[in-house]
Each structure stands twice: as structure tokens, then as C-alpha cells.
């Protein structure tokens, strides 16, 4: 059961196609297991359709349609895409959601479906990361974070945003408890201290769009080492 969903403005930006690559990836991974948010995206896409329906017309070349017919006749020899149907079922019983962990398809394409096989790098006591090869915009980074049980992230504030999707285990902060499938959009100026709150590791998919700024003096000293 998912308790933390995407905000309206994230849904709208995803539908518009205007999120950065990293944010769009994290959002898509939530949509993959959240039919409620996927339905909201479909609603937001109605706006896109209405904008296209209402935009002014610009004349196209006379022969454009004929060129398209040539293209489709050529394409005729290729098979058409199949409906993805049942394989794309959005419920939590789908094969991508097993044993209390969730490996989104977009992520499985990059790392396979086994978190144990990921080449984790230790970035500090109790915290490991794997930076994903996502082509992202400047200052943006998409990574998997693995927090050991009881690990408390240093108290930090944000310059930019931090979008987090829980893939295994859970974490808690002032704003609530986040379990597998839940998403957190930590806004600019938000102040929080997430803690892995069960006996198991907490694995999250995280997109940050600016370096985090840690509050404490010690953690500020650690920051260049942790690199987050």
C-alpha cells in the first residue's frame, strides 16, 4: 500500500515532458507501481491534448502527407508494436515487486533485478551508494542509496530538490514513514533527517538537483567525503 504520492505539480510537469531526465526517471519508477498516480498523469495529459486542440494552425507543405504515406508503406514490412497488456500490470503482485523490494523496469534495464549484485561504494559509515549512468542535467545526480538499519542521515537542508523513491525497507523523518513504493519530494528549504527505521537495509532511488548542505559542523566536514 502506497501512502506517499506525487504532488500535483510533479504530475503536471511529468505529463508536459518538462521534468529533468533524472526526476522523470524517479517519477516514472513510482508510476510503474502506483496506478493512482498513473491515472493522474493521464488526467494531466488531457491538458496537453487540449493545448494541441486549441493551438493556432501553421500550414504544412503540400507534399507532406504523401511523404508520410511513402514512409508508412515502407514501415509496413516491419512488425507493429504489441500491446504490453498484462506484463505491464501495475499492482504490487507483479514480478518486479518481490520479497519486500521493488525493482522498477527502468532501473532493471540498468542494473538488473538484484540489489546484491550492485557495485555499492561506501561513502561513510552506514551509507553506501551507486551512481546511476543516467544522462542528467547539470548539478543533477541520480543514485541508489543504501542505508544500514538505524542509520540516521546527517541533518541537512537543501539548495535544490531531492526526490526519493523507496525500493526496499523504509525510512522515517519529521514528515512521516516511507515504505516501498512511497515517494518523497523534499523541497528547497526543507530540513530533514531521514532514518532507516527497521532491521533491514533501506534502499532508495534518489535524484538530487543540487549538492545537499549539511547542518552540523562535523557533518559539514564529512560532506566532501560523503559527496552528497
Amino acid at each position: 500500500m502506497i501512502h506517499h504520492h506525487l504532488s500535483d505539480e510533479m504530475i503536471l510537469a511529468y505529463a508536459a515532458g518538462s521534468l529533468s531526465a533524472g526526476q522523470a526517471m524517479v517519477v516514472a519508477c513510482h508510476l510503474d507501481i502506483c496506478p493512482a498516480c498513473a491515472a493522474r498523469v493521464a488526467e494531466a495529459e488531457v491538458i496537453g491534448g487540449a493545448l494541441i486542440a486549441d493551438v493556432e494552425e501553421t500550414a504544412v507543405s503540400d507534399d507532406l502527407f504523401n511523404q508520410i504515406l511513402v514512409d508508412v508503406d515502407e514501415a509496413q514490412s516491419f512488425p507493429e508494436p504489441e500491446r504490453t497488456g498484462a506484463s505491464a500490470s501495475g499492482d504490487l503482485s507483479s514480478s518486479s515487486y518481490l520479497d519486500g523490494r521493488y525493482v522498477p523496469r527502468l532501473l532493471a534495464n540498468m542494473i538488473g533485478d538484484d540489489f546484491a549484485a550492485v557495485r555499492w561504494r561506501t561513502v561513510g559509515p552506514g551509507i553506501r551508494q551507486f551512481v546511476l549512468p543516467v544522462p542528467s542535467s547539470e548539478g543533477e545526480k541520480v543514485r541508489l542509496l543504501k542505508l544500514s538499519p538505524g542509520f540516521v542521515t546527517p541533518d541537512h537542508s537543501h539548495h535544490g530538490s531531492e526526490l526519493t523513491l523507496v525500493l526496499k525497507g523504509s525510512f522515517s523523518d519529521d514528515t512521516g514513514r516511507y515504505r516501498v513504493g512511497d515517494i518523497q519530494d523534499a523541497e528547497e528549504d526543507m530540513h530533514h533527517q531521514p532514518m532507516a527505521d527497521t532491521e533491514e537495509d533501506c534502499i532508495c532511488l534518489v535524484c538530487t538537483d543540487a549538492p545537499l548542505e549539511f547542518k552540523g559542523v562535523i557533518t559539514r566536514l564529512l560532506q566532501p567525503i560523503i559527496g552528497i
Binding site: S7, D8, E9, L12, A13, A16, G17, S18, L19, S20, A21, A24, M25, A28, P35, A38, A39, R40, A42, E43, A44, E45, V46, I47, G48, G49, A50, L51, I52, A53, D54, V55, E56, E57, T58, A59, V60, S61, L64, F65, Q67, I68, D71, V72, A75, E80, P81, R83, T84, G85, A88, S89, G90, L106, N109, P135, S136, G160, E187, D209
Partner: protein, 184 residues
């Protein structure tokens, strides 16, 4: 042409590659899609190439279109958006390559929305869009046409990021109210 007629033509295209329906869809949407791509900052030649590619996709994927799930304009928007990302913002094309995905997922929903509702919804959303306060409409169109991120919009309009987000929320909230009225 009404939303219902456009839906019917997309269905005919999907069922038996009806060329007459394809031509009518082209006549209706191609000049609009050209404007859509021009607004994304392409030159006229590139815009026509994108229109050409979009219609090739429409031809190939029309059999996936479900009139009870989306109005024709909504479905064509998703194809066009993904085509734009594929060609102009390829760094995120891996996220948007499968526009059939959410549509097929929603098919399994128990949600009982009919085709008539879908088409009525588009018309009411269009009307509501025209009535949005200009500062909300501006932000929505920057997101959909210019593909500007929240941060870029904030910078261009010299607004705090929170203001941009709250205006987007308000605009979407308005749409969602209309949606629930239509579905009720």
C-alpha cells in the same frame, strides 16, 4: 471536427489502416502539431520532419488506441510529446519511449469512464483553460510547449520556485475539479 469524430477516425485507422481517416486526422492535427513543434524552438523544416515522424508513429500505433481511455487529442499529444523528447531532448527519451505503457495499465482499472466522457472532458478542459488566470495559463503553457522545468520557469519569470509550483497546482486542481464533475 468534433472530438467524437476524431476518436472514431483513430479507431478506423487502428482497425484497418483506413487511409481516408488517416488523411482527415492529418488535415486536422498536422497544422497544429507543426505549431506545437515550432513552439519548442525548432525551425520550420525540423517541425515538419517531426510532424512526419509523429504521423508515422500514429499509423503504426493506432491499434493501441482505446477511445474509452483517452480522447484522440490526448493520445496524439502523448505521441507528439514523446517524439519531441526523442528528437530534441534525447537524454530523457529512455523514460518516455513507451507511451502505450500507462494506457495499457489503465485498461485494467475498474474505472468506468466512457468514450463520451473522455471527449466531453477535453472540450470542458479546453474551455476551462481559456478561463485560467493568465499567470497560471502562462506557466502551464511554458511547461507543455517550451518544456521548461519548474526551476527554468521560476528563473525566466523571476518568481520564487514555490510560486511556480503553487500556480501549477492551482491550474491542475481546476482541471481535476472539472474531471470529477464529468465523471460524477
Amino acid at each position: 471536427m468534433t472530438a467524437g469524430q476524431l476518436s472514431a477516425m483513430l479507431v478506423a485507422l487502428g482497425e484497418h489502416h483506413d487511409r481516408g481517416a488517416f488523411r482527415q486526422l492529418f488535415d486536422h492535427f498536422a497544422p497544429r502539431l507543426k505549431s506545437f513543434y515550432l513552439k519548442a524552438g525548432t525551425n520550420p523544416q525540423m517541425a515538419e520532419e517531426l510532424v512526419q515522424e509523429t504521423f508515422t508513429q500514429i499509423w503504426r500505433k493506432a491499434h493501441l488506441y482505446r477511445p474509452d481511455k483517452a480522447a484522440a487529442s490526448t493520445w496524439i499529444f502523448t505521441i507528439a510529446r514523446n517524439q519531441r523528447i526523442d528528437r530534441l531532448r534525447s537524454e530523457k527519451s529512455f523514460v518516455y519511449k513507451d507511451e502505450d505503457f500507462f494506457a495499457s495499465k489503465l485498461v485494467s482499472d475498474e474505472e468506468q469512464t466512457t468514450e463520451v466522457h473522455r471527449n466531453e472532458l477535453v472540450e470542458r478542459v479546453s474551455k476551462a483553460m481559456a478561463l485560467l488566470p493568465s499567470n497560471q495559463a502562462e506557466i502551464v503553457s511554458m511547461a507543455f510547449y517550451d518544456e521548461a522545468t519548474h526551476a527554468e520557469i521560476a528563473q525566466k519569470l523571476s518568481l520564487p520556485l514555490g510560486t511556480v509550483k503553487s500556480r501549477m497546482r492551482l491550474a491542475f486542481g481546476r482541471l481535476r475539479n472539472i474531471l470529477s464533475e464529468v465523471e460524477a
